[in-house]
């Protein structure tokens, strides 16, 4: 929808340019605890997206007047490295990055037990090292894992994926090309265990029927991502156990 050029994004067998079926996720890899200084951290490769997330907190807030008496404030900085995109991006935050920082924060915050840490801040710093469509969703997926890695008590993880419309069909997990030449894009984040939607955006044109179909597809994709998140956390946990009990790295 962002470009008029009609591009064939599906072949005659209904497969996508990268060989995926319409309901298939891109390869997904999550690593936990990749940064030494951060209280929690995660690195995600989702398709060709490469994103690193650091969590600091709960910690003191400067300046003091930003604190809340009954809960922690959550601060999120979503930033794209200048070299993450085909044309170098200025390092100064764009309007897009300002909006995404806000909606990502509002997608994560419902899962965090902020009332446990009054007068503190929980900081989530996201750096997109390489972008390939769906960076806000991959950022949320990684940030939730980093929050858990930091030991922040949460109601549930938050997992996210974008669905969209390409050549008239609803497709899961759009890559950059599909995002650019498709007819619609809908990022969705959920607390998968609680079945609640914490991020929902869309642009493009969706009929009511397509919208429902897209949301259903997103929810099914999110379940897969949720599993990967828990596996990544479990792996780190097991590794820690092994390390502690002398099992080696």
């Amino acid at each position: 929808m962002k470009s008029d050029q009609a591009i064939k994004l599906l072949n005659d067998e209904g497969l996508r340019l990268d060989g995926r079926r319409l309901d298939e996720l891109r390869p997904l890899k999550i690593e936990v605890g990749v940064l030494k200084n951060a209280d929690g951290s995660a690195y995600i490769e989702h398709g060709k997206n490469k994103i690193i997330v650091a969590v600091y907190g709960p910690r003191e807030v400067h300046p003091k007047h930003l604190t809340l008496p009954d809960r922690a404030i959550v601060r999120v900085r979503y930033h794209m490295a200048p070299f993450s995109v085909p044309e170098r991006k200025s390092p100064a935050p764009s309007r897009r990055e300002i909006e995404l920082s806000k909606v990502i924060r509002e997608a994560l915050e419902p899962a965090i037990l902020v009332e446990k840490f009054p007068r503190t801040a929980i900081d989530v710093f996201i750096e997109v090292l390489q972008a390939d469509g769906g960076t806000r969703c991959a950022s949320i997926t990684a940030a939730a894992v980093a929050l858990a890695d930091a030991g922040i008590p949460m109601k549930d993880l938050v997992a996210a994926v974008a669905v969209g419309k390409i050549n008239g069909k609803i497709a899961l997990d759009l890559n950059h090309l599909e995002d650019q030449y498709g007819e619609g894009d809908m990022p969705v984040a959920m607390m998968p265990g609680l079945k609640t939607i914490t991020l929902l955006q869309a642009d493009g044109i969706f009929s009511k029927e397509e919208f429902k179909q897209a949301l259903d597809l997103a929810i099914s994709g999110i379940q897969v991502i949720y599993r990967k998140q828990r596996e990544a956390l479990k792996k780190k946990y097991e590794k820690m156990i092994r390390t502690v009990t002398g099992g080696g790295s």
Binding site: M1, S3, R96, E99, K102, V103, R105, T196, A202, D203
Partner: protein, 274 residues
């Protein structure tokens, strides 16, 4: 412009929820009732298009300025649309002077998406010399009084201003663009309308007032094109929605969008630009 923390006493939130349990609201509306909408167009003669949109006591002004400029490198054959909303301190004691903050940016981008995704303005008809000279449309939106639901009010003001915009006709002579005296409207294909819901506790209401916004946990803005398609969605604030709540909002929102659209100026005819 950043807002200072808006605090609402817990007791007030509880009383709003208690009312909602009975299906009632502070101002007597039903949960699905939208406040009265009023559109005043052409308030600013000096702008190519302008409109004041009021939803109850919420008031927003939008002005459209047209100029000739270069296209974006990745869309050489299209006009350029730039939407800029500012929550100036005139509108509310909670708004502060200064450069646009994240709330201003979010509204700007959501209005922009509603207009752009619906293809309301046929930007491909606004390239005069493709790759070289195109029309640049600036839509500047200023909040004048904030009594809740600025998202919808900004969308209404912006679309109404675009619907009534008159730009000079042009001719190209020797690769130079000449502006004619004669005016014509923009090439408009559809009139998108946004409908915003607030979730307060476990209840949903449409078109929240300022007091309801102070109590709301989450916000959902749905934009619909003339034929009922969804063209933009934005969930906001640190709350959440269930699947059913979203589907319900979709049904109700689409109906309300039809009612609101009746207040909009008509789609201008003879919008040919060739």
């Amino acid at each position: 412009m950043s807002k200072p923390e808006k605090i609402i006493p817990l007791i007030q939130k509880k009383s709003i929820e208690a009312l909602l349990e009975k299906g009632e609201r502070l101002d007597g509306r039903s949960p699905t009732a939208y406040r009265s909408v009023r559109i005043t167009v052409n308030a600013i003669e000096r702008a190519e298009g302008s409109a004041i949109a009021e939803i109850g006591n919420t008031m927003v002004i939008a002005g459209v300025k047209m100029s000739l400029g270069s296209p974006f490198p990745d869309t050489p054959d299209k006009g350029v649309l730039i939407v800029n909303a500012e929550l100036i301190p005139i509108a509310s004691p909670t708004f502060e002077p200064g450069p646009p903050g994240e709330e201003d940016v979010e509204i700007s981008r959501v209005v922009d998406r509603g207009i752009r995704s619906s293809e309301m303005v046929d930007l491909s008809k606004l390239a005069i010399i493709p790759g070289k000279k195109v029309w640049v449309i600036y839509v500047d939106i200023y909040a004048l009084n904030h009594d809740g639901n600025l998202f919808d009010a900004c969308m209404l003001a912006a679309t109404s201003a675009l619907l009534t915009t008159q730009k000079p006709k042009t001719v190209v002579e020797n690769n130079e663009v000449k502006l004619l005296e004669e005016k014509e409207p923009l090439p408009i294909k559809t009139r998108p309308v946004s409908v915003t819901f607030a979730k307060i506790g476990s209840y949903m209401v449409v078109d929240p007032s300022y007091k309801e916004e102070l109590a709301m946990d989450a916000r959902l803005t749905l934009s619909f094109s003339e034929n009922g398609d969804i063209v933009a969605v934005q969930k906001g604030l640190p709350g959440y929605f269930s699947y059913d709540e979203i589907m319900q909002a979709l049904e109700i929102g689409e109906k309300i969008s039809r009612d609101i659209r009746k207040h909009l100026p008509p789609i201008p005819t003879s919008a040919s630009n060739d």
